[in-house]
């Protein structure tokens, strides 16, 4: 593997290998917490924190961890950081903690964290792994916010809980039900992938011209 720079990791995490639309990881929570922007946002922040610190820790321990028990070690590390987030929210942001309820615990089972620890942090240095965690977390959060934006706007007529659609607006109840999540996420994945393919085609065409 060639030496990775922060910029490469940034582009990969947010765009080229976006965890949700390209790697198709973390779909569970992307469906579950996107009925409101605020839920999606806090979930995203929690995930960024956990992914970054888990990757950092896994990377620090990577030379000492016996190969065949590395999964166990990763799960232990991830759980520890999730519990830290949970305790912090309970102590200092009780209202947010209440609103999220079971979602914080769900971060543990998010495949993005495990996936990035296994694919990236096992092979790379601590600092770049930490950055990889942050950028993958941001990539995930961005997709969540796009989906939540559409769902909350159409389903509740609000954004971050502030009414924006006016009183004449009829809420599309389907958008806040589970099917709405499936439709929206599929549309976003489709849209982003189409965009990316087009860009790649035009990029390669330009390269061919340059030759």
């Amino acid at each position: 593997m060639a030496k990775l720079k922060a910029r490469d990791v940034f582009i990969m995490g947010i765009w080229k290998e976006n965890p949700v639309v390209v790697q198709v990881l973390g779909i569970c929570s992307a469906l579950a917490v996107t009925n409101r922007m605020s839920n999606a946002f806090v979930m995203g922040v929690g995930l960024i924190f956990v992914t970054a610190f888990s990757e950092l820790t896994v990377s620090l321990l990577r030379r000492y961890t016996p190969k065949h028990i590395r999964m166990m070690v990763q799960v232990l590390i991830i759980s520890a950081f999730v519990i830290i987030v949970d305790i912090y929210l309970k102590a200092y942001l009780p209202t947010v903690s209440k609103a999220l309820g079971p979602y914080v615990g769900l971060i543990i089972t998010n495949c993005i964290i495990m996936g990035r620890c296994e694919v990236f942090a096992q092979k790379n240095r601590p600092v770049i792994s930490f950055l990889d965690g942050i950028f993958n977390g941001i990539g995930y959060t961005a997709v969540l916010l796009i989906v939540a934006f559409a769902r909350e706007l159409l389903g509740f007529g609000t954004l971050f809980g502030i009414p924006v659609m006016g009183s004449g607006w009829t809420n599309w109840v389907i958008m806040i039900m589970p099917p709405g999540a499936f439709f929206m996420l599929a549309l976003v994945v489709w849209g982003v992938n189409t965009l990316r393919d087009r860009r790649e085609i035009s990029e390669s065409a330009e390269e061919a011209k340059a030759r």
């Binding site: 016996p66 028990i69 070690v73 039900m177």
Partner: protein, 203 residues
Amino acid sequence: MTEGRDKAKRPLQETYYYPVIFMVVVTVVFISVLAYLNDSTRETIKRAGEIKERESILYVLGIENDSSFDGILAAYDEQVIEEDYGYVAQKTGDVALFFSGSGLWGEMEGFISISGDMKTLEGLTFTTHSETPGLGGRIDELWFREQFRGVALDVAEGGPLVYRPEPGGNVDAISGATATSKAVLKILNPFLRDKIDELKGGE
């Protein structure tokens, strides 16, 4: 950390006891950190829980406060008398009662308050529940809770609380969350009937 795998470590890594020791050490380290954090924030969490509870009691009794921690505590100390059957508002004589029961997805807990003469319902709020956010979870929204203020407690068959448009309906259910709405009344109606009997009998 940067040089390649240390050749001297290889044999140690491959011994049968190394993974066990490694796992034990890592576990102990992480658990210690968590235990420390848990211990150092326990008081804060407990206090936040108590304040939250008092805020709920003030809300159902209709006592104004500025929602700050100190404001809640001061208002509670001044205006609420803790009796063995419930929390009594000094000014109005309303009684706040703690209730619990099964919602759609899990335990629901909260407070409900009734007037001193037990003729009207004065307020309702939930402290814990695990209903679906955005659907059943809307029982936390103000419009839903506020409609329970001032409902006449007519302990007739099936009452006192009935959803519109049923005959004798006095509150609205949440559209898209029928099961949760039903669960709320299934908890509250028997609770109210029993409590009113109990309080009336006790006087």
